[in-house]
Amino acid sequence: MFFRAYGYGLKRCAREKYLMFWNILFPIILGTLFKVSFGDMNEREFMFQQIPVAYVEEEQSQQEFETLLTELEEENQLVKVQKVSGEEAKKLLREEEVKGIFWNGSSITLTVTEEGMDTSILKSIQEQYEKTVGAFSEIAAEHPENLQMVAGNIAKQWNYLKENSITNRNMDMMSDYFYALIAMNCLYGCFSGVNCAVAFKANLSALGARRVVASTNRFVILLADICAKITAQFFCTVFGAMYLKYALKVNLGDETVRILLMILIGSAIGVMTGVFVGSIGKIKESVREGLCIGVTMIECFLAGLMASGMYQLVETYAPVINRINPASLIVKAMYSLNIYDTYTRYNQCMLGLLAITVILCIGSYLMVRRERYASI
């Protein structure tokens, strides 16, 4: 009987067009919009690219500064210099073709349009030159006998820093948006969960009333129905994740089996949240759905679906929320798989997710057990 009810449950899922929209199409649309809007943001904003800068030579220009810029362009590939006239330089800056203008005259001046990482680096170049000149003249005045040694050491161009690499994993912060999207997709199972509970209660639906009078044990039907919803939700979310990974080329890591396991438990939580809300008292179905949307959206908001860095903010001020919020746990589990070398934190997240599922199951069972309907 279980498998027959399970089969019927799957068929009913396939016929719910609106659920299919929210579980398959909506995450795909949202994922595409994310990718289009900030898919390349990491490369554009945070990754280093040679800084284009205009260079204008004025009267009494300093030859050494020009040499420094050429060196930085050719050897360090830090800047890309365009030698132009003053007017042209301003035009280039206005059109955002360059990040700044170096005016080489009796003093070096930098002109920019904004404060940022690139312009800060340009300012550092300017300072490096001016301060070296300053220090040089100071030493020349006070210790002229050591000037040759100083000049010799500057020419050596020491590499003071030994560069270490912390990880070669994907450190793109924007991935959090896609992890949160997968979490949302899992938790959208709550809508089918509510349907499941409504179809179980005789006071809420005709199907529920019919099931009460059937000879089959109601809990076998409920269990089969829940399993069917979880299966459907699992496949919808896997489809969404595959779209992200293969169509949008989002880096979700290579731990496929562990990701699938996480999606399965995430889907179970989504459906069980719906069943739990659906089992509460005697409220209208629309209110139950509203409650589900509200709860899911708050969970996803706190996990970083709408604002980047939200997870870390919550972790700083109220870490306990991150331990009990299923969306945060899913985001953290995905993150752990991609960033850490060990599975300890992933396992902790999975345990947290399992615990929440068990609590929701017990809570729902306590609410629907021993429900009897009077003969009318």
Binding site: L33, T111, K131, A135, M149, N153, L161
Partner: protein, 383 residues
């Protein structure tokens, strides 16, 4: 004016959703505008980095380096657990990790300067370059003073003094150094909220008039087709003006100075132009959707698509070039484009592009409205 009155009676029943949208929006705007106002000086200031430093140095030079870095950056302790360090670097709580070994001063004074410090950065990140440049800059000057014959303490002090001198940085024009006024943040997310709120109000009302039996009953009433349609148009405009009025009133209460200036008037005009686009979209959706569920889907998809593609949520210049071209086919792009220039212009005579953007939005509104009427006509023929 029965139809007109009925419009507002239905609206009154749906007011909860509208109020929820408004309250959430106003709360978010308030947070965002107070967040965005951190920097209000016209002087250039360098990016402040969060640098994790572990100073094990037994001598004085390590201390001097930390004192220098501290001036323009935030120095943080390095987390002990590797996982915590990875977290901090992933979320950019720490952008660069610097370890100063115990024999740093000793080696530096002895002239061994190659790879005397250890640095770790997020791979490829541009902060690594800035951090490296700042450290190099300091050590180079320190090396110069030491080689110049100064005592270590004196050399460290001289280097710190040398670093104090500010270089000359100018902004290309005055408005580049200006700060976005708090009121401008209020208008930033208007496209999203106007679209959603028009969908949950106007479309919900129209959908009720669409209901087959009710529509048939209305058609056979004594009121002329023209009269009924006229009242529906007036009702739609009424709802639009009511919602627009509420938002503008809140803006006047929160930012009276800005709203009283010519910039405030331009922002209001810009919002009105976009509101007309929302009116036409809500009209189209309200006439086409079969039930609330369909409307809900349309509101979410259109609201989010317009906001993401038009540059409401993410600045347009962060998108790739191809997408920036596609964005021009989305009305919110023109709203955002005006909104970004309104707070920068100095007089109404510079607002030529803004007026052009209004006309483009108006053209969008007329086009969508025409599509809605055409679909209505096709539907009427079918039935």
């Amino acid at each position: 004016m029965q139809v007109f009155k009925a419009f507002f009676k239905i609206l009154n029943k749906n007011k909860t959703a509208m109020i929820v949208y408004m309250v959430i929006y106003l709360a978010l705007t308030f947070v965002l505008s107070s967040n965005g106002q951190k920097n209000d000086t016209s002087d250039f200031s360098k990016v402040c980095m969060e640098i994790g430093v572990e100073n094990q140095d037994n001598g004085k030079l390590g201390e001097a380096l930390v004192a220098y870095l501290e001036k323009e950056n935030e120095i943080k302790d390095i987390p002990k657990e590797r996982e915590d360090l990875l977290d901090a670097m992933y979320y950019r709580d720490i952008q660069y990790v610097l370890i100063i070994p115990e024999d740093f001063t000793e080696k530096f004074l002895a002239g061994e300067r190659e790879e005397v410090l250890e640095g770790t950065a997020v791979p490829g990140n541009n902060t690594a370059y800035l951090a490296k440049m700042e450290i190099d800059e300091f050590l180079q000057k320190l090396g110069m003073y030491i080689d110049g014959g100064y005592e270590p303490e004196q050399a460290a002090q001289k280097t710190l003094d040398n670093m104090e001198k500010e270089s000359k940085v100018e902004f290309l024009s005055v408005e580049d150094s200006g700060t976005k006024p708090a009121a401008a943040y209020f208008f930033d997310y208007i496209p999203y909220i106007f679209l959603c709120i028009m969908m949950v109000s106007l479309s919900c009302v129209l959908i009720i008039f669409n209901e087959k039996n009710l529509d048939a009953r209305n058609r056979c009433s004594s009121m002329s087709f023209f009269q009924r349609n006229l009242q529906m148009v007036l009702g739609s405009l009424g709802i639009m003006l009511l919602e627009y009025g509420v938002f503008m009133l809140v803006a006047w209460i929160m930012y009276p100075n800005y709203m009283g200036s010519f910039r405030g008037i331009l922002s209001m005009g810009n919002a009105l132009a976009f509101m007309l686009v929302c009116l036409s979209i809500a009209f189209l959706a309200g006439r086409q959707a079969k039930d609330d569920a369909q409307l809900n889907m349309a509101a979410n998809v259109i609201g989010l698509a317009f906001s993401f593609l038009g540059g409401v949520f993410v600045p347009i210049d962060l998108m790739n070039k191809g997408m920036q071209k596609v964005a021009k086919f989305v009305p919110s792009y023109w709203y955002v484009s005006s909104n970004n220039s309104i707070w920068k212009i100095k007089s109404l005579s510079e607002a030529g592009d803004i007026y052009r953007n209004w006309l483009i939005m108006l053209a969008f509104a007329i086009a969508v409205f025409a599509i809605a009427l055409m679909m209505n006509r096709l539907k009427a023929r079918k039935s």
